[in-house]
Symmetry: C2
Subunit: 261 residues, 2 copies
């Protein structure tokens, strides 16, 4: 099977033009198939402030009312997505911007209201792997905004990490998928105060030992759980690493943390 890199970048990269330029240089140079998933929350928050649309969060998730879904559709699906696509085209990378509505790539449903009404937030039902494969085989690099649709005409706001994981799983029958979460740390750290304490490899055995010894920070535990869930669903490996180390992290000698079965 051919390799596929499913690469999610965090908001910090989008907010730093120099870091973004370097990341896009590296992304354009990734050999073979790749998909980029982006956020844009900070840009949406700034524009929302200008428009008098209040940004509200519960457990880190944006409450998406009518004004907010229009806001994020503009910012994620329009401004950020098209700027990334144009910037990649300038680097000779044939990028193709997508939301989940385009080509019915990601069908979702509006999250049911239990204790919290998240508004126009979508939980993923189905990924159109057939269409994504056709784009990849045509040499295109899909650039995915964190938006899905409900099949009834509504755009839904969906967490970018979740979209990355769902795409990776859906394509794992056809490709050897490395799912990559790029953020501003070098990887999973043994000691949060030492940037050079990256754990290079986590498998189930190491994971159990790290947990038993209480050596994983609270914030990283759900990320690693999600990584193992993706691996259980067919993804070959998950990398957590620094956006500035993309070129190294698509090789076998990673600088971040590689999570494997």
């Amino acid at each position: 099977m051919e390799k596929l890199f499913v690469i999610k970048i965090g908001g910090n990269v989008l907010d730093h033009p120099d870091a973004l330029d370097r990341f896009l240089d590296d992304f354009a140079a990734v050999p073979g198939h790749r998909i980029l998933i982006h956020g844009g929350g900070k840009i949406a928050t700034r524009l929302g402030d200008q428009l008098g649309i209040e940004s509200r969060y519960v457990d880190g998730r944006r409450i998406t009312d009518d004004a907010t879904i229009d806001l994020v559709t503009m910012v994620y699906g329009g401004l950020v997505n098209k700027q990334l696509v144009a910037a990649l085209q300038a680097r000779g990378c044939n990028a193709m911007g997508l939301t989940g509505a385009d080509g019915n790539v990601i069908a979702a449903h509006k999250r049911p209201v239990k204790t919290i009404d998240y508004g126009w937030v979508g939980d993923v039902d189905n990924v159109n792997g057939h269409f994504l494969r056709a784009l990849l085989e045509a040499g295109l690099a899909p650039v995915m905004a964190p938006l899905t649709h409900d099949g009834q005409g509504h755009i839904l706001n969906t967490n970018a990490d979740t979209i990355a994981s769902n795409l990776a799983v859906a394509l794992s029958a056809t490709y050897q998928v490395r799912l990559m979460y790029c953020f501003e740390k070098k990887g999973v750290l043994e000691d949060l105060h030492r940037e050079d304490s990256v754990i290079p490899l986590i498998n189930r055995e190491i994971h159990a030992r790290l947990l038993a010894e209480g050596r994983l920070a609270d914030g990283i535990i759900p990320k690693i759980d999600n990584a193992f869930a993706a691996i259980d669903a067919g993804v070959r490996e998950v990398l957590i690493g620094d956006a500035s180390e993309l070129t190294r992290n698509v090789t076998d000698k990673v600088s971040g943390t590689l999570i494997v079965s």
Copy 2:
């Protein structure tokens, strides 16, 4: 050759939810291949007003400074495009939103400054017909925002009528193309004061006679000239008609004005 309908809708349709719903019902039911090109200028102007971005025009063309290109990228490429795509998906039409940057569909260059600096406005250099054909043959309905790119990382604002004409010409080697301009009038009128005075067919002979007799309104003359230019470049026919008459206007018995060689 198979038929292809390249359909441009004006801003008025976008501004009237009921009319838009009906238009989208009809578009989803168009038999065979079709492409939708939309604007969104009024929505951009309203959002620009909220953001303190002044809308300035010369000869009906928007002056596109740095703030304005971001504004129209959000509104055309994000809000309007994705709402149309989601609405078509809800009608069983597998729509695919595009700007010229996506898949390098439309390469353009920034209009050189002569007497007027239009800013980030693009004139079309090349249409990637190969990619559009692949989408059409896969059963997708491209939905095109009036944005192009310069291959150097910049999104450019490009007139939607011009984009429609360029797409129609580029695809005329493969398809029998009917290029359709849908607006709020029934067609080209013999008498501007009589809505029922639609001229059903204009060919070169009729065109010459109408011009000689001074029976064409000033506003419509350049539209008809552009129609003949598209026909000279390979487009089979151009229809000017009412957005509410789409279902009839894709047949042989049109209610609008059909312009032929």
